[in-house]
């Protein structure tokens, strides 16, 4: 188990997600990595939490820390979970690495009453400028990979994501963008600005 002091600081987008989760609820963290968010939720929000993680290192770190995490691939293994099993299904910074992000979203909202999704915004002005000025695939703190070794095969902009939600009839309960200084901006008040100034986005979705 982590020491209390180690638990304090979690990534801003994770903190944002954590703040939206009701204490004591049932949470599935898809692509939970080393379990940072799950550990936080279990200990500070008393959630009944589970994780799904692809990497061996991530899974072993989670289980070693006493977190219930299974090794698996969101693209193929979400279908093994039953309907309405969780209050929240979380997908933080992983949607863009899915083979079939649309199917993953569908399963998240089938399994959970709500889905919490965060992703890097490809419409962020610095990303656009990088491509415009350099003529090369954008790289930044949130997009640290080169084109040939990136796991991010389905990057999208905030507007792209809004369009997909509309197409799938998904209700957006809350949506914010975070800029590079972690300042939040409500997406629904001005999608254009959020798409330009948001380095990443966090959505609360329901059926």
């Amino acid at each position: 188990m982590m020491a209390e002091s180690q638990r304090k600081a979690i990534r801003v987008d994770l903190q944002f997600i954590a703040d939206m989760i009701e204490p004591g609820s049932r949470v599935l963290d898809v692509g939970c990595g080393d379990g940072t968010l799950l550990d936080y939720l279990v200990h500070f929000k008393q959630v009944d939490g589970r994780g799904l993680e692809l990497s061996t290192e991530g899974v072993n770190a989670c289980v070693s820390a006493g977190l219930p995490v299974i090794q698996g691939d969101a693209d193929t293994d979400l279908e093994t979970f039953p309907d309405n099993a969780f209050d929240y299904v979380v997908l933080s910074q992983t949607l863009q690495a899915m083979v079939a992000p649309r199917t993953v979203l569908h399963h998240m909202l089938r399994i959970g009453r709500r889905a919490l999704v965060s992703f890097p915004n490809f419409g962020y002005w610095r990303v656009r400028l990088f491509l415009l000025l350099h003529g090369r695939m954008p790289m930044s703190d949130t997009l640290p990979y080169r084109w040939y070794d990136t796991p991010n095969i389905h990057l999208c902009t905030i507007k792209d994501f809004l369009a997909l939600c509309r197409e799938l009839g998904i209700v957006i309960e809350r949506s914010v963008s975070l800029d590079h200084k972690s300042r939040t901006r409500r997406i629904n008040s001005s999608p254009f600005t959020a798409n330009l100034l948001g380095e990443q986005a966090v959505f609360v979705l329901r059926r």
């Binding site: 188990m1 009944d48 899974v59 219930p68 299974i70 090794q71």
Partner: protein, 398 residues
């Protein structure tokens, strides 16, 4: 009677073994799946650590095919370290400073629990093939009777690998209220055709040995050494990985510089297997081997519980941890995933890790630090939820 065929039971006095022996089934017999009732039978078991006052820290370790109750102490026949010495002991993942560990020799075994080499009260001779065919569920039912005898309402955990893992799954499916956590390791929900096939080779080897005498070797003062050794040699190959065999032996020759154009053990791997076979027959009963492998072949958890894997664990309150090993081809990861999928289907509390090793199926018995780290973490997480006090850090000696 020739000396080599004489059975080794003289050095194998179960009554003198360490641990405990209890007669169960006096008040109510154990009704076996095959229909036979065992009215009074002995179960041999061993314990490590101390049961806490509210009896909440007990862990049942289920042993595998050729294991026994001597989990963490020298084997009384061979003198070798306990079969799970890496896992069980003070300060180890199953920390005996913290948990009370129980391991019973399973039904049909040959280390003190009732089995085919024990005395059939009706005849006064060994049971032999008159012993009823037992199943994994029968083994678990006997363990439940032991638990009642020990007056433990709920185990903190039931853990085991291979056949031990099958018992864990049976525990979880049949007695969900009697365990808090379950760790089935390197196991499967049913025996595959390949699993059954390997066992059949082993059984046929035993039965083809003239010293087997139709199962009556004990009353005839014989011991089917060759057959049981071949069974063990075949099985042993399935416990290792192709790459570990290659790395360990390659094509190296045994104590010679050139091949001998004969059928001696020219190769090291042959010598190794022969050694595995010949030592095994000094500590294991051939009829037990028949019965236990049969119990494994008959194991089909979903079929026994109505056919649906998902229904097995519906509303299960148990915290599960399933672990598989990359190089295990006997109970491969895909079989463990079936267990995980059945648990996911009811949103059960489950962890699942696949550990990278070269050791094959036997990895769960070996020194695999990553496995032990993951396993320890699972138990500690479960202990926290169960409200068990933390282990007192051990002070190192001078």
């Amino acid at each position: 009677m020739t000396a080599p065929d004489k059975h080794p039971l003289g050095r194998w006095d179960v009554e003198s073994f360490p641990g405990h022996r209890v007669k169960l089934g006096r008040d109510e017999p154990l009704r076996l799946e095959c229909g036979v009732e065992l009215a009074e039978f002995t179960v041999a078991y061993q314990t490590y650590g101390t049961l806490n006052p509210d009896k909440s820290n007990a862990i049942m370790v289920c042993h595998a095919l050729t294991g026994d109750q001597f989990v963490a102490e020298p084997h009384p026949v061979t003198g070798k370290p306990g079969w799970w010495d890496y896992m069980v002991g003070p300060g180890k993942p199953i920390d005996t400073d913290r948990y009370f560990v129980i391991c019973s020799n399973f039904l049909g075994g040959c280390m003190g629990t009732i089995g085919p080499k024990e005395v059939n009260p009706e005849t006064g001779g060994p049971w032999g093939l008159d012993f009823p065919v037992i199943t994994i569920a029968d083994m678990v039912n006997a363990q439940v009777m032991l638990l009642d005898h020990l007056e433990i309402e709920q185990l903190f955990a039931v853990v085991g690998g291979s056949l031990g893992g099958m018992q864990v799954l049976e525990w979880a499916a049949s007695y969900p209220e009697r365990l808090f956590a379950a760790a089935p390791i390197a196991t499967a929900m049913h025996h595959s055709a390949q699993n059954i096939a390997f066992h059949e080779v082993g059984r046929q080897a035993i039965m083809a040995d003239p010293d087997w005498c139709g199962g009556e070797y004990l009353s005839r003062g014989r011991w089917p050494r060759r057959g049981l050794a071949v069974a063990r040699m075949t099985a042993h190959i399935t416990y290792l990985s192709e790459s570990s065999l290659q790395a360990k032996f390659g094509r190296r020759l045994q104590d010679r510089d050139a091949i001998t154009f004969g059928f001696d053990a020219d190769f090291q791997v042959e010598s190794y297997l022969r050694h595995q076979g010949s030592t095994f027959v000094e500590r294991f009963d051939a009829n037990s081997y028949l019965y236990i492998t049969r119990a494994m072949d008959y194991f089909d958890l979903a079929a026994r519980h109505g056919g649906s894997a998902a229904q097995l664990f519906d509303h299960s309150p148990i915290r599960f941890c399933v672990i598989s090993f990359t190089s295990d081809w006997l109970y491969p990861t895909v079989e463990c995933r079936r267990i995980v999928n059945a648990l996911n289907a009811v949103a059960a509390n489950v962890s699942f890790a696949e550990i990278e090793t070269d050791g094959g199926h036997d990895s769960f018995l070996l020194d695999v630090p990553e496995f032990h780290r993951v396993f320890r973490g699972f138990l500690e997480g479960a202990a926290e939820h169960r409200g068990l006090p933390r282990a007192v850090p051990r002070r190192n000696g001078p």
